[in-house]
């Protein structure tokens, strides 16, 4: 299954959720959202509700990781190395991570319900789904302005997206509408270009 933008470009780090695909819940895990070279690594981390996330700082500068997202607003004030404790994310949803010092640092935690199967697309925007789902939810950071909305596909909609089908493999391509452009990294304010002077338009 491939997730693409309306322009047909593969969407990396999209999350495909197959609701109710997991029968039994696994143990609580501690996941790592590292900060390397002023970036969250990985950019998108998928975890299950109730998991813990550690935010080690691999840079030699301090970061102030925070989130105002609804599932779990938190902040880890200026720190270096590994904070004292990992943060628990008990509720499902999307948590947008930022660094209060470095505005260009953005990261996402996709907290799936324990019963849902959440898979992340690779560099080709592809993901292997073990079964043909009856419904699907797809998320991508650019899909909504709030970055918290999911695209929900019904079975018929999924069927409509089938590209090719063999006995072993059904290829599905999901086109995902995007609400946010590729956000460029914030840059320093550029001096206003000096336009050449022109005549007074009110002059007769």
């Amino acid at each position: 299954m491939q997730v693409v933008s309306p322009e047909g470009l593969p969407l990396v780090d999209a999350v495909v959720v197959v609701p109710g695909a997991v029968a039994s819940t696994g143990p609580v895990q501690t996941r790592v959202m590292d900060q390397i070279h002023r970036a969250f690594v990985p950019h998108v981390l998928t975890l299950n509700a109730g998991d813990l996330v550690a935010f080690p700082n691999s840079d030699n500068i301090r970061h102030h990781v925070y989130s105002f997202s609804e599932p779990k607003p938190f902040e880890i004030r200026l720190y270096a190395d590994t904070p004292k404790a990992p943060v628990e994310f008990p509720k499902s949803g999307v948590v947008v991570l930022g660094c209060n010092i470095h505005d260009d640092m953005l990261g996402y935690l996709f907290i799936a319900k324990p019963t849902d199967l959440a898979l992340q697309t690779d560099d080709e925007g592809q993901v292997e789904v073990p079964l043909i789902p009856t419904s699907l939810e797809v998320w991508h950071e650019r899909h909504s302005v709030s970055a918290s909305e999911l695209m929900v596909l019904t079975e018929s909609e999924i069927t409509a997206q089938v590209v090719s089908q063999t006995e072993q493999l059904v290829k599905i391509q999901v086109v995902m509408p995007l609400a946010v452009n590729n956000e460029p990294a914030p840059t320093a304010v550029q001096p206003n270009r000096n336009l050449p002077a022109f005549g007074n338009p009110m002059r007769r």
Binding site: G98, D103, V145, P186, V189, N200
Partner: protein
Amino acid sequence: MRLRILASLRSQILTFTSVLVVMSLGAVLLVVLLSSGQAIRNNIDEDMAESVQSFREAINNRRLQLVGNATVLVSDFGFKQAVASRDSATIHSMLANHGQRVGADLSLILDLNGWIVSTTEARLMPGMTFGYQNMISDVKEGNDRSDFLVVGEYIYHIVMVPVRTPRISAIAVFGVRMTPQNVRKLITDQGMQITFINGMPDQVERWVNVSTLPDLESILQAIRAPENFKTLLRMPFEKKQRFSSRKIDIGDKGGTVQVILSDDLSRFYATYESITNQVMALAVLIFLVTVMGSFAISHRLTRPLLALAVKSREIARGAFPEVNNIPSTSSDVSLLIRAFKRMRNDIAEREERITYQAHHDSLTGLLNRDAMITAVQDETEFNKPFILMGINLIGFKTINDTLGMEIGDECLVTVAERLKKLAYKGITSRHSADEFSVLIELTPDCKTDEDRRFLCQRTLNNLSAPMQLNEVSLSVDYRAGFVSFPEQADKPELLLRRGKVALEHAITTQDALYAYKEGQDKVHLKKIKILKHLKETLQNDDDQLQMYYQPKKNLRTGEVEKAEALIRWFHPTEGFIPPDMFIELAEQTGLIGLVTAWVISRVLDDQKRLKDAGFDLQLSINLSAQDLSNDNLRQLLDQKLSENQLNAEDICLEVTERDMMTDVDKSLELLDYYRERGFQLSIDDYGVGYSALSKLALMPVHELKIDKCFILKLATQNDDQIIVRSTISMAHELGLSVIAEGVEDKASQAFLQRLGCDFIQGYYLAKPMSLEAFQHWLTHFDDPNHGG
């Protein structure tokens, strides 16, 4: 006239120099204005460029500062937290607090759709849209935007920055309100005005503006002003260009606010005006100096000219003032003065000459008539008695004819020179070719007419001394008449006229010296009047003149065979005018030809009538010497003869002995002609003409008429009897018939008959009669009781 021309010369100089100065200064002023205008233009360009540059920098700095402040603000964790909280009260208090930190007059939080989330501006409510969507969409993508925007009633320098929580979830808007004070800070050049304006050009009342200019009127002027200065040259009614403006494009094109930089030109005008004033002051100064200078020069030029004009008027009046003391102000003027002096001298000399010529006879240098009158006038004023004598040179014409004009002239000059010496005070004049007059001093001892006559005679004697001219010795004879002042005339004209009358009398009477007699002038005047009447009556042929006929009786036959035609003049007012009087006058004035022509016509017509009436008579006509040589009369005679079918024998021509003998040769020739032609010829008035008998014998005449002076008293005068007898005898010897006129008594007739006289004529026979009377008389002549 002269003065006006000179004045205009002065004004011409003044006008010329004034116009020159005004023009050149005008040109200088124009150049100053043009170059000042160019300088101002350049200045404005530089000023404007600098101002625009510095303005841009100032705006950019403000923008950088605002953006920096805003960015810092939105980076604040608390700010982010507040925005993320979505709690409006929290956000509002945070905005108010943080906005103050950055010195913002306006703070807003917008959501990414441009809706107001929170605001510090009371007039903006949450939920309203902020507008400026193009800026918002730029900011949504993470850019900062700043521009001058209108919010409410004010213009703000607005900066918009994205709020990251951590994704861009809102837009923070901060604005600094533009006030004239902080606008002023944007530019260092105090002469430069900045105007922020928002609105349509035609909706001034709805404009929102912020300006360093004091009022809307100035703002309007400023924004309508051209980008540069046009010119300093303008018409008086044109307004001064107050501003030069340039519109600056400066924001992120978010709004419609225009920024206009205006250069206030008044400071340039100040410079220019001080230059203009200096030039004008200089112009006035130069103008005054020029006017005064040219006035002085023209005055120096015209002063001598005016003086010369005054002098020339004096010269025109006949005065010849000295031409000194005229200021010679330049070489040209002194040249003119020298020329003027020469002219004055020349004119004076010429006038002297002309005056002399006007008053003097050119040949002799004596006075002319007019000058003589003046001189005599002057002399009469002394009231001293003197004599004016008129002198005529007898035979001067002969001198001229025989010795030549040169001798004649010399003769006149000599006479004149003598007269000058003899004249009292040299007052003597020449009136015509040979007529002079001279003033003779009357000494107190001269009392009687004889004394006067003696004085005149002495003068004449001195004058008539023989003169030697070109080896010709010449003695000139004179006739002279004189008049005495004041007894006989007291006015110069009268003196001259009466002198002339006396002289004419002397000439006609062959008197060498004649003294004017009282009343002679009147006779002279009467003669002139008679002459005038004679001319008139000849012209009009108005029956004033009549022909009378006096019969002549043949003593042998006792028959009337001839008659003499005699002219008679009956003037309506003057009465009977004796023929002696007017015939003589007519001869003297050359009028005789006309008179004789009239006589010939009338007599020949009458002869025809007589013949027609059956009378066969020979009629005689009196001819003067002048008439004899008059070709017109000869033609007239021929014409009238043939017209009336008469023969020449029917007419006898009577010529006086005197006329005949004056120029014998000529008379011979003329008489021969008439004799050949067949006319009878008769010598009239024989015996008083002093003629030489030898000459008489030559005359080709038929008849001799003895003058009546010998006949009238013939009966008693023995002398007359002797003369008459011998005359008759001589005439008969010469083959001439003899007639006696003036026979008034029977004794005379008897005596004449005894002597063998052929014809008689006279009152004894009959008076002269009109044609009708004559015819009547002839009819009854045979009647023994009648007349004879």
